[in-house]
């Protein structure tokens, strides 16, 4: 049981780290930032996975994403000191694997289905799917960006001195 949970968490963290390294490469960070991005993404994503999938209390994806992003932000401020690069260089790519891509896709899918179907009942259902997925996606992104940015503003002095 515990081994199964640990395996799931490690697997989740591993794929999140690979995703973070790849997405980090697109925004051209310094080489020393790559391990930080990978570590932050792995911790953040595994934490969100753990918060959402446990027997004690399954937290909603929006709250879980916000908490995970906050933890990424706190760790980023600390790790940025070690990597000697701005905190945002470390945590921006780490947040990208948590961007709710499937909700966004399902919202677009629902939009296409709205265009396909004219019957009122089906159309209303598609509109419901569009609104549900669209709202969830929007609030997850909002939770991610606000949650990760709060520590940078809380520890302003530390955050903006790392390249010194």
């Amino acid at each position: 049981m515990i081994m199964g949970i640990m395996t799931d968490l490690l697997q989740d963290g591993f794929f999140a780290a690979v995703a973070a390294i790849g997405f980090a490469a697109i925004s051209n960070p310094p080489r020393r930032a790559y391990p930080c991005c990978a570590l932050l993404a792995a911790v953040g994503h595994a934490l969100r996975f753990g918060l959402m999938h446990n027997d004690l209390m399954s937290i909603h994806i929006i709250a879980a994403s916000t908490l995970a992003a906050f933890s990424i932000g706190v760790l980023a401020v600390w790790l940025a000191n070690l990597a000697k690069c701005p905190a945002e260089t470390c945590f921006f790519p780490a947040l990208l694997p948590m961007i709710p891509g499937m909700y966004a896709y399902r919202a677009i899918e629902a939009l296409v289905m709205c265009l396909y179907h004219q019957e009122e009942e089906v159309f209303n259902h598609c509109l419901y799917l569009l609104a549900y997925n669209g709202f969830t996606c929007t609030f997850i992104i909002l939770g991610l960006v606000v949650g990760a940015n709060i520590p940078v503003f809380l520890f302003k002095k530390m955050s903006f001195k790392v390249t010194r």
Binding site: C85, G101, Y105, I108, A148, T163
Partner: protein, 265 residues
């Protein structure tokens, strides 16, 4: 010898020269994807080291900088267009380091100018390495959303092709919005193979993940950071930039789905 002369001539720069340098610096820092709070802090830090007081307005497309000499009160205002370069955290890091070196007296004005020129000509990362890493990232993304190994492979291939199209079109200076539509269209059509030929058990996830490498995450995150710092104009501008690109990638995806007549129901 010549370099030494140049350096000594500009070691005590006047306010006009410093303002020109700082506005150019701010424009590049903004262009490479720095947040407004970082631009302000870096510019104010260097201005204080050069002995002038500056006020900075960061607009969506322009930087307005007014500098005042602390000694004689002379002031200059400059408007500089934001440099539209690709997002580069490496450049952001090096420009931030430069500001601290100037503030700590490790870098003179002449030295700062030459280092700034060097940073401006930073070579981008190896495009093939970025291409492979981005494709691997998107395939991992597919796995995170519950995709099976067949879907991961299809997402890898569709991302590889879509991202390569994006790179080639951007090299040819095509409009970035058009580039997003085309790249998204190609990736969606390629990944629709799972739907059309019955590959794997998670065709919907493969299709959804194939275009996610195009989601402009950095503008959205920067937008939130600017909003928290009270730069609402820039926050709105960056958010709208992200939205326009998101709409473009959705358009490419929808065109692909409609063209192949894929039944999503």
């Amino acid at each position: 010898m010549r370099q030494e002369n140049v350096t000594s001539e500009i070691s005590s720069p006047d306010v006009k020269e410093v303002c020109a340098f700082l506005s150019d610096y701010a424009a590049w820092l903004c262009g490479c994807g720095a947040t407004c709070i970082r631009i302000e802090k870096n510019v104010y830090r260097m201005a204080a080291a050069f002995g002038i007081r500056v006020d900075l307005s960061i607009m969506p497309s322009h930087i307005i900088l007014t500098g005042r000499d602390m000694k004689d009160g002379a002031s200059f205002s400059l408007v500089h267009t934001v440099c539209r370069s690709a997002i580069s955290f490496d450049m952001n890091t090096r420009l931030s380091k430069l500001s601290w070196d100037v503030a700590d007296g490790k870098s003179s004005y002449g030295d700062a100018l030459s280092r700034f020129e060097e940073i401006k000509h930073t070579a981008p990362a190896n495009k093939w390495l970025v291409l492979v890493l981005a494709s691997l990232a998107n395939a991992s993304f597919c796995r995170l959303f519950g995709g099976d190994s067949v879907s991961m492979l299809v997402v890898f291939v569709s991302t590889f092709c879509g991202y390569r199209i994006k790179q080639m079109m951007l090299e040819d200076k095509a409009d970035v919005r058009f580039v997003f539509v085309c790249a998204s269209f190609f990736s969606a059509v390629l990944s629709a193979g799972c739907h059309l030929f019955g590959w794997g058990d998670t065709p919907g996830i493969a299709l959804g993940c194939s275009v996610l490498y195009l989601v402009p995450g950095i503008p959205y995150i920067n937008s939130a950071s600017d909003m928290l710092d009270g730069h609402y104009l820039c926050a709105f501008s960056r958010f709208m930039n992200g939205m326009v690109l998101t709409v473009c990638l959705s358009l490419g995806l929808i065109c692909g789905l409609l063209m192949l007549n894929i039944d999503l129901a």
